[in-house]
């Protein structure tokens, strides 16, 4: 009787707070969250691309150059190369984490963050010098809408990368536990994939 009471007390002491949640999914909660987030993001970009295709395909309106103003394809092309190369450094950082190479992890994350910042700086510079504003015409609205939406995602990705970089320099992440780099990495590659669509459709085609 006494031992049952002691066991009950021990069990009571070990368990605090609400009961553990039921895990019914085979996917980890952190990955599932990012997965659902990215799916919702694809739908958001889809809505903007619908507006773009409506103007060009359904309405058949002209695309740039408009009133003698062209889109800076070459500058955006260099910016595309910068963003794509940041995915390579991101992948390098993750490989560093997987192989317990802390220097590769740190330098990879820092380089990715700096390349992302460079991309944003070039885009802001492009906005300043492009010569039209969102309210000038529907094409301008779509241009700023699509590139601005993407720029916001780069900013979110940079925020995640900054957290991961600070944690890497503080000695976090191991070969087994590096979810804090992997999830931002998936997001960063998603942002780059979206830019490939934006650059191809808005600037090149």
């Amino acid at each position: 009787m006494e031992s049952a009471s002691i066991a009950s007390d021990l069990a009571h002491e070990e368990h605090h707070g609400p009961p553990a949640p039921n895990v019914s999914s085979r996917v980890e909660a952190q990955f599932l969250g990012m997965l659902l987030f990215i799916i919702s993001e694809i739908m958001l970009f889809g809505a903007f691309f619908t507006a773009y295709f409506f103007i060009r395909v359904v309405a058949g309106d002209e695309w740039f150059p408009i009133a003698g103003i062209s889109l800076p394809k070459a500058v955006a092309g260099v910016n595309t190369a910068i963003l794509i190369s940041s995915s390579f450094t991101m992948h390098w950082a993750l490989e560093g984490a997987r192989n317990e190479n802390r220097n590769a992890l740190r330098v990879g994350l820092l380089t990715t963050t700096l390349l992302g910042l460079t991309f944003l700086a070039v885009q802001v510079n492009e906005y300043v010098h492009i010569g039209f504003s969102p309210q000038d015409h529907a094409q301008g609205t779509i241009f700023y809408g699509l590139t601005g939406l993407h720029g916001c995602h780069v900013f979110i990705g940079l925020t995640l990368l900054t957290f991961a970089t600070i944690r890497a320099f503080r000695g976090h992440f191991t070969a087994k536990e590096h979810r804090g780099v992997e999830v931002p990495g998936i997001y960063w590659h998603f942002v780059d994939v979206m830019w490939i669509f934006v650059y191809s459709t808005v600037y090149l085609l």
Binding site: F31, M34, L35, I38, I39, I84, S87, M90, H91, L94, V181, E182, G185, I186, H189, F190, D192, V193, I196, F197, S200, L204, L205
Partner: protein, 35 residues
């Protein structure tokens, strides 16, 4: 099957495939327009 949302490695590989396919499609469209 490749699932870019499962791991960073797969997401990176997906990015490379998208870049390659986009380069081919854009190249073809620009070539057809030029003809």
């Amino acid at each position: 099957m490749l699932n870019p949302l499962r791991s960073e490695q797969e997401a990176f590989r997906f990015l490379l495939y998208v870049a390659a396919v986009a380069a081919v499609v854009v190249g073809l469209v620009l070539l057809i327009r030029a003809l």
